[in-house]
Symmetry: C3
Amino acid sequence: QSSVTLYGRINTTVESQKEGTADRKVVVANNSSRFGFKGTEDLGGGLKASFKLESGLNSDDGRAASTFWGRDAYVELGGSFGAVRLGNFTPESYFATADYVSMHNHDTGSSSDALYGGPFRSSNKIGYFTPTYNGFSASASVSAGEGQAGQEKLFDLAANYVGGPLHLGAGYSKEGDRSQIAVRGLYELGAFTFGGYYQRADDGAQNRNVYRASGMYTLGQSEFHVNYGATQGKGAFAAQGKTNQFTLGYNYNLSKRTKVYAYYTDVDAKLNSKDFSSLAAGIRHNF
Amino acid sequence: QSSVTLYGRINTTVESQKEGTADRKVVVANNSSRFGFKGTEDLGGGLKASFKLESGLNSDDGRAASTFWGRDAYVELGGSFGAVRLGNFTPESYFATADYVSMHNHDTGSSSDALYGGPFRSSNKIGYFTPTYNGFSASASVSAGEGQAGQEKLFDLAANYVGGPLHLGAGYSKEGDRSQIAVRGLYELGAFTFGGYYQRADDGAQNRNVYRASGMYTLGQSEFHVNYGATQGKGAFAAQGKTNQFTLGYNYNLSKRTKVYAYYTDVDAKLNSKDFSSLAAGIRHNF
Amino acid sequence: QSSVTLYGRINTTVESQKEGTADRKVVVANNSSRFGFKGTEDLGGGLKASFKLESGLNSDDGRAASTFWGRDAYVELGGSFGAVRLGNFTPESYFATADYVSMHNHDTGSSSDALYGGPFRSSNKIGYFTPTYNGFSASASVSAGEGQAGQEKLFDLAANYVGGPLHLGAGYSKEGDRSQIAVRGLYELGAFTFGGYYQRADDGAQNRNVYRASGMYTLGQSEFHVNYGATQGKGAFAAQGKTNQFTLGYNYNLSKRTKVYAYYTDVDAKLNSKDFSSLAAGIRHNF
């Protein structure tokens, strides 16, 4: 009677990390491993119901995420009108921008994007997703404040366009006087893929710019990656200092589901205590 | 080798709620969403082994239930003699009475039965379930006190009868000098279904009566629901005040597994701070 | 696309337990129940990727293990060279010794081995497993200290040999100046199986010897078990006192997956408060 799909990803690295002025150390690290259940029911007349439950887990020490179904816990009704989604789900503005260009390791672990930020919330949301029309799709969601102190309604908007080799996206989110807006592009040119985004975040008093560029060169089962990001800020953001992040990566795809990989990532911050670098090697297995 | 069934329910509403004298607020709410694993093994000779693990989850914000497998975590041996069950499982006295007549939304969420109560426990139980004979079945369980302070053995008895359109049930539970007993009836009359229960709860010093009546009218894929309950109490129960609960509901069944619905529920308490009302719309999807 | 296996075990007992000088009490108890997901992907060329997520659960009261995926959370790459495993997994030195001879109830619950011990850790590990060659296999793993106070690198070694009726094993683990080493044998002689291990544990200042012998007699679907262990120690270990553990067990296999069983176990310690005995009956169901 039931046709639930059980899926997930285990992504684990061995790393030599250096944080601030502390001694370099060897760690076994998790890179956003997760498992989930999902399913779709055809209701006839073009209508369908679907759900998703997705749970983060620490593939290094076995702990579950602090919010067990924090990645996704939603039910959705879809049709020719698009889809309406209720519950807990990852902001679409993130998928449309920062996630899209983080090609070397899916924006996870020690080489994940340390700069992109903003007012984000997954919980207590109502979302609407347009159908895809001529390569264009968009979504809007609002997360209820629910009368909790210090929490307001949070709005999230995202748009995506795919036209041949050109992929464009934009994301916007806002809670009270805090907001962020970002635009993203990605272009496929033979064996090369180039991507980047620009984000402007406002904490209500000051604002900050984030720039990110990434590139991938594919050769057989191998991928060569480079990823660079930088910030420019005012006020409190300036005190945090201009931060650069640089990553070189190599992936070897054993199959569509499984890769082994290595990368070197370096976060260079104005405050030395925020400096970070890691040389990592890992296995990523999708199931 | 294994033949485990993965099943569950996501049930999420958007509601406009008012509690006591606080401001009305919009919330996205969970209505007893859950997932589970279950399976049965045929042991031959009419004997079978089965198990169930069922976990509550918050479909609004992704949190797991505080006791992860708190809904069910049991192993069972069944045969012509009935079944013996060991572990953690929901009291049968509840299923036989309050749950049975709460037709509009499965006794979940903001319109769940706010009045039915008693000494209940799911953990550390041994249960016996009779076979069904001429529509009649019964069960008895005891939850071990395990020598823990303030905790005694808890007994739970339930009985059910189904004869054509007539459904009857009764439940009883007792821990020390606290107890509750309830009787329930439900009758199907064409497109109409009528149900109700009467419960008498004793907190060891005083007692309280709870009355509940519910009705459903089915028209094609639509269901129209009404549900009313009231309390009458002595001593401390009287100080809590007579409480009424009234719910009007509408369900539209998109399929056997999926419905969209709306309801208005109102709890009118003697203490204004306990007043509650909600206007809700939601999606329930079984998988 | 995915071919994940969902598996597990529910193992629950009803017991009459006596601890120290406290009153005898009836409890419903969990015996290392668990569920898990696992899968293997054939990568071609003799290479394969696999993963395992295994979670302990309390089948008596429904709580999940405090570390949700604490039993196992790993990804592995295997081939003719053996296998490399990353993440969180149970020490192989334990499986090769204490677990192997605990035949009556899989070294779980109130009759589990109360004497075997040592420096063990499951988290943040890199392991290598040899292929099996002429019945011989071995493994080595190291758990990263990750610069955490009071935690050093932990090494774990295990070896196993199976030659007809003869099964041999050894395990060694070491963290700083704490270590344990154990050797194990098991022999099948018709309807009889005999097993035992000897362990020497060193806490850095003193050491302790642990002896364990177990026997099983199989008759049709019935198994008759006896299990005896004892300690001998110096220094702080001597203050803990010589401890004996004795268990008599009976299993009735309803199928390969399901058994009912009973046992009596008695831990006799130098300190009376550590004395423990239990008369237990239970159901174990694998799925």
